[in-house]
Point group: C2
């Protein structure tokens, strides 16, 4: 009994690959690669240069190539597929579960989609086309048809015998799905419960009939929320009349969670997340980065020009009391910071389902109140700071009161805008920190100038 207990790591593999390429020792690398995890191979391929990448990819068996392709970045996928003939790509697509093949065709090589569907096996192509009917980022796009179907009248012993037969065809055996003759889902039973049950017990005695399912057009974010809420290892996808279409395994749900997380933080940072959120940092070409960023920057720039309009409107007042302008960045900065905090709280509360439509007024009241309280605390500090700088009591009062007003205002619209987006069925995560900062800048300036005019009698 010779047991090798190797710890599998990305670093080990990367080292081996570079060594083998340097010494042109490809035969032994081929053997080694066959034992490695596809995710690690993909991570190494992502970092190699083009000729090395092609060399290493060619060492893999087609089944492993298919698995590695699913984990590769978009850039590397396109690059690897470029050197294969459509027929070769078709073979790889046939090896993939239908959700992965659909994702590849829709997201990574959309231009060759029609051509590649032609060279796939007809049943496989038909299955993939069914998935492609569902909207992107929906449950229908993530599901696999390779789940274990069982009949309610089988005994535990019969079920185990049956599973031995179908084993090669299913992706996961952790849960078995009980279908009636019409193909409707009537229960779920875990492999564990079948294994430990007395051999003569029937599936319909063992199965759980309290089901949580999703429709094929359910958004992937909702799927992730349900799987995390119920601690499931897979989520069944059914039609409205309960016909079972497929399952979404938990590892795909985790991938969706991570992708959503990236998209959310990108959007919150004021960027278009779509398309680049699944791509490793270095693999996104610079022109694409700029395209994804400059659009938002430009829009925000245009919105920000209103600050100039507001200030020009109060040109006389600013000329009379130049000291007013010293406080401009401090005041609008504080407003922007407060608003950014509120937006991030709201985005999470909405994403996790903690805040619902009926809660809108409660949220606004709560944020208005907390804005007022925080504004009062900071306003006192601002008043003191302005005095210390040698500003007049009146000017200091203007600054202090403006902080109170701006914090309350920023907190309220920082809550209002994500709620409005949610109400209009727009993802609240599009309300970015830069967007709220920009909105608060122009309106905050107007508040400042109006308070100044009133108190200083300008």
């Amino acid at each position: 009994m010779a047991i090798t207990n190797r710890v599998m790591t990305y670093e080990n593999l990367e080292h081996r690959v570079y060594e083998a390429l340097a010494h042109n020792n490809l035969e032994s690398l081929k053997e080694y690669l066959a034992t490695q995890h596809p995710a690690n191979i993909a991570a190494v391929l992502d970092r190699l240069n083009h000729p090395q990448r092609h060399q290493v990819f060619a060492l893999l068996a087609p089944a492993q190539q298919a698995k590695v392709l699913d984990e590769l970045s978009t850039e590397a996928t396109q690059n690897v597929l470029d050197i294969l003939s459509p027929q070769e790509v078709g073979v790889l697509l046939n090896y993939m579960p239908m959700d992965e093949a659909a994702r590849l065709l829709a997201e990574e090589v959309p231009k060759q989609r029609a051509e590649l569907l032609e060279v796939m096996s007809p049943e496989h192509a038909a299955a993939v086309q069914t998935l492609l009917q569902y909207p992107p980022e929906s449950a229908g796009r993530m599901m696999t048809e390779k789940f274990a179907r069982v009949q309610p009248e089988l005994t535990a012993a019969e079920t185990l015998a049956y599973l031995r037969q179908i084993n090669p065809e299913v992706e996961t055996l952790t849960d078995l799905y009980v279908l009636n003759p019409a193909g409707q889902l009537i229960g779920v039973v875990s492999l564990r419960d079948v294994v430990v049950a007395a051999p003569e017990r029937c599936i319909d005695e063992l199965m759980n009939t309290e089901l949580v399912t999703v429709a094929p057009d359910t958004d992937r974010e909702e799927v992730a929320r349900l799987v995390s809420h119920y601690d499931y290892l897979a989520m069944p996808v059914v039609t409205p009349d309960k016909h079972m279409l497929g399952i979404i395994p938990v590892d795909d749900v985790i991938d969706a969670l991570v992708a959503e997380q990236t998209e959310d933080i990108m959007k919150f940072g004021g960027m278009e997340g779509g398309g680049i959120s699944n791509q490793p940092y270095f693999t996104v070409p610079l022109p694409m980065v700029i395209r994804k960023r400059v659009g938002w920057l430009f829009l925000l720039f245009v919105a920000e020009t209103f600050t100039g309009t507001v200030l020009r409107h109060f040109e006389d007042e600013l000329a009379k009391v130049v000291a007013l302008s010293f406080f401009i960045p401090l005041l609008i900065g504080t407003g922007g910071n407060t608003g950014a905090q509120t937006v991030s709280t709201l985005i999470r509360g909405l994403a996790l389902g903690q805040i619902q439509m009926r809660d809108i007024w409660r949220v606004i009241q709560r944020e208005l109140l907390s804005g007022l309280l925080m504004g009062s605390l900071l306003g006192l500090v601002a008043f003191g700071r302005a005095l210390l700088w040698g500003s007049s009591t009146q000017l200091s009062l203007v600054v202090g009161l403006t902080v109170v007003a701006i914090c309350t205002w920023a907190n309220t619209i920082g809550a209002l805008i994500p709620l409005l987006a949610y109400r209009l069925r727009i993802d609240p995560a599009v309300v970015s920190a830069p967007l709220i900062t920009t909105l608060v800048d122009a309106t905050g300036l107007a508040i400042y100038m109006l308070i100044a005019k009133a108190i200083l009698g300008l």
Copy 2:
């Protein structure tokens, strides 16, 4: 064969609970609750008022109470435990897996920790105390000891017989962990592979010896990254000499991912995430919200006062050309927005392991270049906009050049600061959008004024 195929939802349950409370129909509610998912019961309890919450909680059997407690918000947990005697709480803790009991004692009722450990069963208390030695948010805190241990020399048939015996004691049977007589992990085999194998085959022929494990002090974020990378359903936790301590099931990993996600977006929004990130929006008391927010706001406020210092330094220049002040919010706003985008890209790249220490210079070069390119595009627009506003060519040139300089600068320090945090082993997510905006504000103003002085000859 009567199959009820009910779709289990939170809304159904909430409706039933309110109905039963209104009609004081508690007996039938008790029966209904026994069939419901603990996560749904917890979600309803979170929204009930205190007396109703106590009434409904009392209807649950102790084993279900223990499961519900694990899903409740901190506020509701404390509230529910308040009305129980320490002995009663001790009984509930004994029902919990050790990781959940440890989390409850450490995070939800830290003050009663010593007292409650006393009333737990001695073995259970000892197990929990072992977990509490590991740092918060580490693998050691998340693991359960209730995994299936098997010996390498068992046959598949013997293994299945053995699993029927130990079934009640283990939390998950999806994977079986193969230990040698010294208790060291030597392989993992899935229940699926055991079920479909020929009955006489031995575990050591079936098991996978390419292992990925974590140490008990591994951070939960790293655990999540590994589970998502390798598509695992559980992660084994071992000591440096490979003694198996426990496993972290995938559902706990998902909870950790969601909590980290919340923490990241809170931090990025400029808030202290710790402590409130697992709590539903409405359950966080207002004074705590303010405490968590006002500290950062105050710090940023102090940093932002440097903008005043910069402007006062250039008081004469501003008095001579009042129009200079019109562009202040626009220029520093654009800098802040650019910086926020870069920070969000960097935080994700670092969190997902796409950017490593050796990549620092590549990142800085890349961000400097993209900042320069985006700045040039926006600078052209700014120059045109200033001219249209009737500013002099010279002033417009100042504005345009400042945009180029500020974008380049903001992009570079937006990359530098998360990298610096990473290097110092601080979570890069503490670099919030407000922090970067504030930093860019004061430095951006100085850049603006210096360019103005040089070109306008002030």
